[in-house]
């Protein structure tokens, strides 16, 4: 889906560049009309920001610290070892440049939304041991792609380990982990583990599902920079540009039951399955 460049965004991008450029641009738009337009756009932005500021007053500050830490890429959950099939897609020549990359990211996010958000949702709403075990079993049968399944287990079990040590204010997290390890039948798949942590932290289910898509986007774009598809600045621009599509994916697939979990990108699944056939590879999946 082609994304129209927003005029507001373009002007801001120019302004944030170095002084020299700023001068050049301001000369260009030195006419009265141009100046007015910029003032108008900036005023509009201020009004919007003010509105948003007022809305966010009620958020529990304690929760925010935990939320940010959970979503922070320095949380050592091993997410950076995975490319979500991107590396295989490059070697199959399905992705060969920034445009392909954007499509790949969008398809991946839709597939993540349709397949995994139901698990995040159920776990956030009902973060109990029983539900954790049930979701884990169902997801294990659902992720029939071995590459994807192993990636989910390795990220989920690290996340559970890290969260149990970090969020000590939630003793149930640690006890749940201990019971699951003791039982030996829980693989700790990533989506339900993430949902359970969100639920116990008191995050609402909308935020937890959006956050899950955000993390997927963050990790695949980060993989793309390490695979030399985009530079770090290009990656940041891409991430922001895709955000509105990602939000539409979240809206479409959020709050669904686990029985409705489905694949919407079968080609991507086939490609990801090829990861183990790659002769040389950087990533685990």
């Amino acid at each position: 889906m082609p994304l129209p460049a927003s005029p507001i965004f373009t002007i801001h991008a120019h302004f944030s560049k170095k002084k020299k450029k700023k001068k050049k641009i301001s000369q260009k738009i030195d006419s009265l009309e141009g100046g007015l337009l910029v003032c108008f756009v900036m005023d509009q932005d201020l009004v919007e920001t003010e509105k948003r500021r007022k809305r966010e007053i009620n958020i529990d500050p304690g929760l925010q610290w935990s939320q940010w830490q959970l979503l922070d890429s320095i949380l050592p959950t091993g997410g950076f070892a995975h490319s979500f099939g991107l590396e295989a897609a490059i070697q199959a020549r399905l992705v060969s440049g920034p445009d392909d990359l954007q499509n790949f990211v969008i398809h991946l996010l839709e597939n993540t939304g349709s397949l995994l958000l139901p698990f995040v949702y159920s776990a956030t709403m009902n973060p109990t041991l029983d539900n954790c075990q049930k979701l884990d079993r169902i997801l294990d049968a659902t992720l029939s792609n071995e590459v994807g399944r192993k990636a989910s287990v390795s990220q989920g079990s690290s996340l559970m380990r890290v969260a149990a040590s970090v969020f000590t204010e939630l003793p149930s997290l640690k006890s749940m982990r201990d019971v699951c390890i003791g039982s030996g039948v829980v693989s700790f798949h990533h989506a339900p583990v993430f949902g359970i942590i969100c639920g116990l932290l008191g995050m609402d289910s909308g935020t937890s599902q959006r956050a899950y898509i955000f993390m997927t986007m963050r990790d695949v774009i980060s993989a793309a920079t390490r695979l030399n598809l985009v530079g770090p600045l290009g990656a940041a621009v891409l991430q922001h540009r895709v955000a509105s599509v990602a939000e539409s994916m979240v809206k479409k697939w959020m709050d669904r039951s686990v029985e409705d979990a489905c694949q919407t990108a079968p080609l991507l699944d086939t490609i990801q399955g090829c990861h183990t056939y790659l002769f040389s590879r950087l990533f685990c999946s």
């Binding site: 169902i138 539409s248 079968p266």
Partner: protein, 296 residues
């Protein structure tokens, strides 16, 4: 909308797998020819036919299969299942439920489903197995009448395949959903691939087929995948074809289930013929069990 129920029961009669009950209602019909393949093999072949060669908008077909202990049954079709244009928002659906007994083998090897433009189709297959049942499922669909330019033009395609072990334990749960109303249109998601297939091979009777397929797919794909020689970006400028050529056929294999008892192969292909050839080649090892090699 009433479900049309069909029912087939296969049991051992004098030591041979035999269809002891077969019932179907319009538009569905089962044909069970006595002689498919050699008489030494113990397998019944069941052909599922629909009148008019396809499924009309709003059709709802439901069938039940019971494969008794130790029996072998094959369910197949004679040509692709065509799903015609939908009238209004009506969805056509097919439901299959099968129980596979101890030591039994059920082989579902149809031709592909082809959804015409605007068609809406939903299919659900549920297989109930015990610890030593064996099962083969081939489930595949094409982009439509792609030879005449109709590519990924249907409204909705949904296919579910589930395997449950004793105690309703999920072993394999898979649903593919392609719908036009999604934010990304289907054709774009599929690149130039026209056929998507899944081959599932499960159970103790098929260990040799599983090993062979895994080895074949690995060998096939290892040759196809490589780090592009020309670095990114320059391809478009130089306009050289060789660095952009994608494999016409992609397959990957995964083990699943308790103790890796199952293998699932996912395939994407630019042509239907290539998938027929692949299926024929990969399932040829089943000939001794079925009397005839599938897709021959």
């Amino acid at each position: 909308m009433e479900m049309e129920k069909g029912k087939v029961v296969v049991e051992k009669v004098r030591g041979k797998s035999t269809v002891i009950r077969s019932f179907s209602k319009y538009p569905l019909k089962f044909i069970t020819p006595r002689k498919v393949g050699s008489s030494i093999t113990d397998a019944v072949w069941i052909y599922s036919l629909t009148y008019g060669g396809g499924i009309v908008s709003g059709d709802s077909i439901s069938v039940e299969f019971t494969i008794g202990d130790g029996c072998t049954a094959v369910l197949t079709t004679q040509s692709s299942t065509k799903v015609y244009k939908s009238l209004g928002s009506k969805c056509s659906e097919q439901v299959l439920e099968a129980r596979i007994g101890s030591g039994a083998l059920f082989v579902v090897i149809p031709d592909p489903v082809t959804c015409f433009s605007t068609a809406r189709y939903s299919q659900k297959q549920v297989f109930r197995v015990v610890s030593d049942s064996s099962l083969v499922i081939v489930d595949w669909f094409t982009s439509g009448r792609h030879e005449s330019g109709e590519k990924w033009d249907f409204e909705l395609y949904r296919s579910s395949n589930c395997i449950f072990a004793e105690g309703n334990q999920p072993v394999f749960l898979d649903t593919v959903l392609l719908e036009q109303s999604s934010p990304v249109d289907i054709a774009e998601r599929m690149h130039e691939y026209q056929v998507i297939a899944m081959v599932l091979i499960y159970g103790p009777k098929l260990k040799h087929v599983q090993d062979q397929v895994q080895e074949n797919v690995k060998r096939l794909m290892s040759q196809q995948l490589q780090i592009p020689s020309t670095r990114l970006g320059c391809c478009a400028k130089t306009n050289s074809d060789n660095c952009l050529v994608r494999p016409a056929f992609i397959a990957s294999c995964s083990a699943f289930g308790p103790k890796g008892m199952g293998v699932v192969v996912r395939v994407a292909s630019t042509t239907t013929e290539a998938v027929y050839r692949f299926l024929h080649h990969q399932l040829a090892g089943m000939e001794p069990l079925l009397g005839v090699s599938p897709y021959s």
